[in-house]
Symmetry: C2
Subunit: 221 residues, 2 copies
Amino acid sequence: MEGKGISRAVIERLPRYYRYLGELLEEGVERISSGELSRRMRVTASQIRQDLNNFGGFGQQGYGYNVKYLYDEIGKILGIDRQHNLIIIGSGNLGQAIANYANFERRGFIVKGMFDVNPKLIGKVVRGVEIMGVENLEDFIVENDVQIAALTIPKTKAPEIADRLVAAGIKAIWNFAHIDLDVPDDVVVENVHLSESLMRLSYRVCSMQDQKAGEIKRTQK
Amino acid sequence: MEGKGISRAVIERLPRYYRYLGELLEEGVERISSGELSRRMRVTASQIRQDLNNFGGFGQQGYGYNVKYLYDEIGKILGIDRQHNLIIIGSGNLGQAIANYANFERRGFIVKGMFDVNPKLIGKVVRGVEIMGVENLEDFIVENDVQIAALTIPKTKAPEIADRLVAAGIKAIWNFAHIDLDVPDDVVVENVHLSESLMRLSYRVCSMQDQKAGEIKRTQK
DNA sequence: TAGATTGTTAATCGATTAACAATC
DNA sequence: TAGATTGTTAATCGATTAACAATC
């Protein structure tokens, strides 16, 4: 499971493979060929085989891939078989949504604690987890072996909290704040910039409209 | 503003440029060169100039780019200057987070309505918007000129609702359900698969650990 | 004018697709 | 064995970076 040398593009696609294999598993499908998976996922069979072979040969000539086996192997590659302790900083709607969701999905992600600065939220219990103030953040991280922090706080507060997280030895930040965080090389930051996603959507809607308008114009000529 | 021929990679980067220009604007910076922006954003100056020149020449030799002008132009390209009416289907924590956020950001996105199937939520008012049942979804879309629907419902219900949205003439779906939607070519789907984001995070944390373990091993030899 | 910096062409790099021998 | 399908190499395609003439 050598982590290096795997391109960003491949890693981006892995979770999607995992999801489709999970669906196949639920449907009771035992084996699948790259060709059939390619039709379902709307990617080329070549790409599927290339991607998987970054991590080893999981298939068998003339047979294809065993769904359960491949599913488990990708799970291992993604590290979903290991336990990840996480905390959520910012316990508003987004923080609570993530708490529900991370526990729900269960695959190795455990919400150990939730934090907020709002006194109205502190003390409230979400999915069995009590919301705490951020004063003892560092102690909590160390005592509970927390690896991942989800950051769902305003961008103005994010850099300061990120620094505290890093100092406390956090391994990764799941960043929902609308700002790029500056952290050491050995701390992973995974950004979810919803505003940027919405802007891309906007762009695509507009360019679709322009395209249609163009077509009409051409037809009328 | 020709929508076609622009590569996906460029579109992905546009909102980030917009965000950095917004920050510069707040800092009171009037002009910026691709070189200086490159240092801030940690991308190559070449890439910045190439990206921008997909849409026209916004700069001036020997001077650089006027921050306010470039900010506005990218806003236009992204379609943020136009008004987008949106609805949110699924009014749980995630739906409410989006409602707060979309109104908050204001840049042309207006939450016209919120929907849910849960009777406990129906009738509740979030940021001045009342949560409705999904019975009259289609009428609401037509009457309110709704272009975008955010889908924050379980994956089991998503395909059915997506079909209804498409039939009602929606232009785009902001999809938070953990499933790929099957819609006609002229309907835009922008996916936010949080589970996949979390898996990528997990992968990167694990491969970082493996990398470190490898380094220690090598040092000890 | 001289210096700075763009816009744009050319070179490089990496990712995707095609092809096919290996093999179950 | 014959057919199917992988694993893998080679070919193509596209995106990024470098270079530099144009020009403010």
